[in-house]
Symmetry: C2
Subunit: 220 residues, 2 copies
DNA sequence: GCAAATTAATGATTTATTCAAG
DNA sequence: CTTGAATAAATCATTAATTTGC
């Protein structure tokens, strides 16, 4: 498949690692070598040169990229996990609301609430941040939020939302960590059905890297 | 004053550029050298070694840092500018609202609006992002927004906000770029007084970097 | 004045993101 | 789409300014 093993047939512009080289590198990575220092790189290079043409910088870049993409995968997983919790929470809330309305026989209440401006605004901002983060441009997420503003026309009618206003006056109690919610026991007094959109069994700790930090670099 | 010129007095762990070295480097930077390649770095290093001990990597890092911090300053300026526009917009809106209520002799309307849940929610998120950005930890701004969720209790009364709901149904029209608003002519049909909290005469274009990109690096 | 304590600058690394070859 | 290569952003760490209490 890949022309990696055909050594010195065509002057390739970049290093094409052979199957054995990749296997050995991955083995070393799993073995704990995350950021090899200069002498380690020398050693690895001379070892891997038995299986094909290779330079020191190839080894350097390989470990750098491998570590970075490992972390990237972890972050994406964590993000998905939080997104799951958010959705669970949202579904739970809507379900609770629905049940409440069923009790009171007000069928229109649920839809009315889901279209409420608060809910929509939250959704817009959440979606925006989600998109930016999943796009990979983290900084834009906050930068662009700055550049948006809310320019509604003059309200022709009064708000009649004094109850909501009072409920949201304290900012600390207004927003709560979604992480704090335990998805396994969504509601103690009522069993709610929530769709399982994503697996929520990820047990991730970003700090499990042992990062044997070494300080070798020779840029000039 | 500064002991920068005293060369080789104490074994410093990091390079302390002399006054002349910094002057020359800044001159070169202004002259258009943003990311020198290996040969340029060699040349600059040998030139600057006349004024004090210096290595190639020092030159490499100096240009890297200088360019990055230049961009950083620009971004921060732009952020402040957008924040200014946001505040202007907010003030204009409140002023307009106030005028409108004055006409209709409803003194309580303004305060009612400022306490409205929409306004408060926007404020909370904006403040949060602002704080994170100005604290310098850009990533946290979006990451933490994920971990917050909105868990209100069941509303005991109906919302009565159908008008707002309809107004905000289309997300693209709901939020508009603050940049689009021209602060010099805030309201065509009425002259409004707006406090000038920040200078808004910044004319920034992030794309004025000529970045003579060169591809030389020798890590191993 | 003058050090201890803070804060701001900035040199050096590490990490994240982008580009482009295959 | 994967991944080597390169660049840019973020972070760490040390030094210089600056403040503060004496």
């Amino acid at each position: 498949m890949s022309p990696a093993a055909t050594s010195a047939s065509s002057p390739s512009s970049r290093w094409c690692p052979t199957r054995e080289q990749v296997m050995i590198l991955e083995e070393m990575y799993r073995g704990g070598i995350k950021t090899p220092n200069a002498s380690q790189i020398q050693h690895i290079t001379s070892h891997l040169s038995l299986y094909g043409r290779i330079e020191g910088k190839n080894v350097f870049y390989w470990f750098q990229n491998h570590k970075a993409r490992d972390r990237q995968k972890l972050r994406r997983k964590l993000l998905m996990h939080q997104h799951t919790l958010y959705l669970q929470n949202q579904l739970m809330y809507n379900q609770k609301l629905y049940d409440h309305n069923q009790q009171n026989n007000h069928q229109s209440h649920l839809l009315h609430h889901l279209d409420s401006p608060l809910h929509q605004l939250y959704q817009v901002i959440f979606d925006h941040v989600s998109f930016c983060v999943f796009k990979g441009r983290v900084e834009d997420a906050s930068t662009q939020l700055f550049s948006y503003t809310w320019k509604a026309d003059l309200p022709e009618s009064s708000y009649n939302t004094a109850d909501l206003t009072n409920r949201f006056r304290d900012r600390d109690t207004m927003m709560k960590k979604a992480m704090g919610a335990d998805p396994t026991s969504p509601c103690p007094d009522r069993t709610l059905k929530t769709l399982e959109l994503f697996p929520i069994t990820t047990t991730i700790s970003l700090k499990d890297q042992c990062t044997t930090s070494t300080k070798v670099r020779n840029p000039s």
